[in-house]
């Protein structure tokens, strides 16, 4: 049953990593603009043939 100590330790560590990741994302401004990236990802690098459908 001592395994549980280890398992709980690992699970909390994992959760902490996610929490830190969230803070990092928030601090670097990833939540400031949640709309523009959804459009940006649809741009092609270079559109060559404009009439093609």
């Amino acid at each position: 049953m001592n395994m549980i100590f280890l398992l709980i330790g690992i699970s909390i560590l994992l959760a902490l990593i996610f929490l830190v990741a969230f803070f990092w994302a928030s601090k670097s401004g990833q939540h400031d603009d949640t709309y523009t990236p959804s459009i940006r990802i649809l741009f092609d690098d270079e559109i060559k043939n404009t009439d093609e459908n």
Binding site: I4, F5, S26, D32, D33, Y35, T36, I39, L42, N53
Partner: protein, 797 residues
């Protein structure tokens, strides 16, 4: 699909989508309405950026009004205030560009580096309509802004940008962080508390201490980081003698924390850690719901966001840009076409055609003659003019309004229902706790402390604290769908209390879009066509209104076109000599002119009559007035002359309800007087001249027909299209207050159930852990469902 595209490109400008003139300009088999649009296309295609036109049809803006003057950006003092960051090599600036509207805009603005390699990166925030540009210092700020203007994305640079702060964003991030920590701890403590609730067998009992200490560890950041604001707010309010909801909340958190420490350390129980974490988590979510922000709207605008940053001063015949604060009395300033007159001044040279629509809402320009005083805030429509400044910017007729003390006082928002109710709640709560403690001291002193703390824990008004934010947030999003944007949630409760409504006239109850003309005299359809083709060439507002109202397609080209700015137009259309304009322009005898809103028509030297410009009231005005009359007294304040008194008397029966020729200051004073009689006043306005009244009133609502346009500082912004829904909005606000009352009752029931356990000294952590989330979820469900049901009843959904 392809065919549709072709027809579009055949009749509309390839760049901006305006209808094409008789002989459109052509390049690469595309047609353009003007040189400006063609220029932008040339620039883009030469830099391999023609993809701009692939993402959307006609993504551009019309380039007919050109001429940009950004010389002032070369003044280091002004530029220094605008940039976000600068060092020896690079500069970063964030610019607000109102025309950003489609994916092509994003794509082009983020490809600026292809046009000029010294622009290192550019990033668009679509909702805020901002672009953040990093460029090498080999480029000046002026170069960057001119490049943007040249491709049709002129940034709007105003004094308010200079002083803008990013404070709110940081506060928002902090709250999100607190929610994240509280949520993280809530989840973990719940997991660790389950074994205790379900009962530990003898073998597993060894984990009890381990789980207890872990729980305690999780509760520390929740209390001292996430829940800190409740302690400081409760303490702050107590010192000022105010008992608000934060006090029982802080007390509940504190008692729960203390009792958990005591139980876990003495190994007498499991403590209330998961309830504590859940409580703080839900409370913070409620707080977050209250901070509804609209990125595209600003409620804090004053004249500075509308005035330019600098103005051209003439000094010994040399032009020099000077920032507005440094503008002195006696300076000679040059105002070019489409620029704002920043200070009260005397016209010295040129013909002034001043559009005061931002100030008064009046859409027709006013003519000024040499030597006349021109008040600040007007936009010059004709050619360049020269003026001498009479008063510094902050002391001008309009802008001195902002020196009024009204603008330095924060509006009091304590009067909300939950604010008042929580005072009694706190007192009753403390009484019950004290009485039950006293009772147990008498009969069984070992139960006194548990009972006392249990009362404070279970009665912690979590559901109570959430009922307001969740109801009001639901109402806010319902209003939002109906194009009625509130600054914050407390505005809803303010709206429910209104018993006096004051309207501004021009632009507020009159509809600038629906303005029309009536023709006095006789004119045939062919002759209308001639007038239409002539008027099309003029940029004068009256001509544009006339063309819009005539609603005819362009048919003939105009020869020998001449325009006397502000007086009239003439030209030869399809072989007929057509003249339109004022009486003096046409050489007619002076008659009764109605403030310059007549357009007289002469075709082939024959006088046909005149088009008379008529204000039109918003179609829903009658219905709105008759509905509002039942619950509130109505008033009308107008800066105009009295000539509309007659036509308005069908809406406002009593002569005392209408006040004309009101200056901005008088409007403010009128509201003040109303408030002194005990009225809760709602003000509808639209222009800068209403800014004082909007600020002074209990609730100021700016009415605008284009949400992205300027609107003065206010508590709410209403789209003109939703003007007819005002009575429904007020009813919905009143219903929302009802919903809050009902949810208060529901959460009180939960509290009473919990209290009945607590006073008997029977409260177990499990009861608390079930009751708290149950009551919270009930309240969240009830408030959002009830608010929406009422909205359906009020036909807002």
């Amino acid at each position: 699909m392809l065919q549709v595209k072709e027809t579009v490109s055949n009749t509309l400008c390839f760049h901006c989508g305006d209808s094409l003139p008789e002989q459109p300009l052509q390049l690469d088999q595309h047609e353009f309405c003007c040189l400006g649009c063609l220029g932008v296309y040339k620039l883009l295609s030469s830099h391999n950026l023609a993809d701009y036109y692939v993402y959307n049809d006609v993504p551009g803006q019309t380039q007919r009004s050109e001429k940009f003057h950004f010389d002032y950006l070369n003044e280091p003092e002004i530029a220094g205030k605008l940039v976000d960051y600068t060092d020896q090599n690079i500069t970063i600036i964030t610019l607000y560009i109102p025309v950003i509207h489609c994916s092509s805009c994003i794509w082009l603005l983020e490809s600026l580096g292809k046009i000029n390699t010294d622009i290192l990166s550019s990033r668009v925030d679509f909702l805020k309509k901002q672009v953040s540009i990093t460029f090498k210092n080999t480029l000046s700020l002026k170069d960057v802004v001119e490049l943007l203007a040249n491709i049709g994305y002129e940034p709007s640079i105003s004094l308010q940008d200079v002083v803008k702060g990013q404070r709110t964003e940081k506060a928002d991030r902090k709250l999100i962080g607190k929610i994240a920590v509280a949520g993280f701890c809530f989840g973990n403590t719940m997991l660790l508390s389950f074994p205790e609730y379900f009962g530990l067998s003898g073998v597993e009992a060894e984990f009890r201490n381990f789980f207890g200490y872990l729980n305690l560890a999780f509760s520390i950041p929740v209390v001292f980081y996430s829940g800190r604001d409740y302690f400081s707010s409760a303490w702050h309010n107590l010192r000022n003698g105010i008992l608000n909801l934060d006090f029982p909340l802080a007390l509940g958190i504190l008692v729960m924390f203390m009792r958990s420490i005591a139980e876990i350390l003495t190994q007498t129980g499991a403590g209330f850690v998961d309830t504590l974490c859940g409580l703080v988590f839900f409370l913070l979510i409620g707080k977050w719901m209250q901070q509804h922000t609209y990125h595209h709207l600003s409620f804090e605008r004053d004249y500075r966001s509308y005035f330019p940053v600098a103005v051209t001063v003439l000094e010994n015949d040399r032009e020099k840009p000077v920032s507005l604060e440094q503008l002195n009395k006696g300076d000679r300033i040059l105002i070019r076409s489409n620029e704002i007159i920043p200070a009260d001044s005397i016209l010295l040279k040129g013909s002034a055609q001043v559009d005061f629509s931002f100030v008064t809402g009046e859409s027709l320009p006013v003519e000024k003659v040499l030597g006349e005083i021109v008040y600040a805030g007007g936009r010059q429509l004709g050619g360049a003019i020269e003026l001498e400044v009479l008063k510094p910017v902050s002391q001008s007729y309009l802008t001195k309004l902002w020196n009024n003390e009204t603008f330095s006082i924060e509006k009091d928002t304590i009067g909300t229902f939950s604010g008042k109710a929580s005072k009694y709640f706190s007192i009753v709560l403390l009484l019950i706790a004290a009485v039950s403690a006293a009772y147990w001291l008498f009969f069984d002193s070992s139960k006194a402390l548990p009972a006392f703390s249990a009362v404070l824990i279970i009665a912690c008004p979590c559901a109570l604290a959430l009922s307001s934010p969740f109801t009001l947030a639901a109402v806010l999003s319902i209003f939002d769908k109906n194009k009625f944007y509130l600054k914050n949630t407390s505005v809803v409760e303010e709206l429910a209390r209104i018993d006096a409504v004051v309207f501004d006239k021009t632009g507020t109850i009159s509809n600038p879009e629906a303005a029309g003309f009536a023709f006095e005299g006789a004119i045939s359809v062919e002759q209308r066509q001639l007038v239409n083709d002539l008027a099309r060439n003029s940029g004068h507002p009256l001509s544009r209104e006339l063309v819009k109202w005539l609603n005819l397609p362009a048919k003939f080209a105009v020869d020998q076109y001449r325009e006397m700015v502000g007086r009239g137009l003439m030209g030869s259309v399809n072989g007929h000599g057509v003249k339109i304009g004022s009486r003096s322009f046409l050489g007619l005898p002076a008659g009764n002119t109605d403030g310059g809103s007549q357009v007289h028509v002469v075709i082939d030297d024959m006088y046909l009559g005149n088009f008379q410009f008529r204000q039109k009231w918003r179609p829903s005005l009658a219905a709105v007035v008759s509905k509002l009359q039942k619950s509130a007294s109505l008033y009308l304040l107008s800066g105009d002359q009295e000539h509309d008194r007659q036509s308005l008397s069908i809406f406002f029966y009593d002569a005392g309800q209408m006040h004309f020729k009101q200056s901005p200051q008088e409007k403010l004073d009128f509201i003040k007087k109303l408030q002194h009689t005990g009225k809760k006043t709602l003000m509808f306005g639209d222009g800068l001249n209403d800014a004082g009244a909007l600020k002074q009133s209990d609730l100021g609502i700016a009415v605008t027909d284009d949400i992205n346009n300027f609107s003065p500082g206010c508590e709410a912004i209403l789209d003109g299209a939703s003007f007819g829904k005002i009575p429904a909005f007020i009813r919905q606000a009143k219903d929302a207050v009802k919903v809050i009352h009902m949810s208060f009752a529901i959460s009180l029931v939960y509290n009473i159930v919990g209290l009945s356990f607590a006073v008997q000294g029977l409260l177990s952590p499990l009861v608390a852990a079930v009751l708290m989330p149950a009551s919270t979820v009930t309240i969240i469900l009830f408030t959002s469902v009830a608010a929406r049901l009422y909205a359906r009843k009020n036909q807002l959904l």
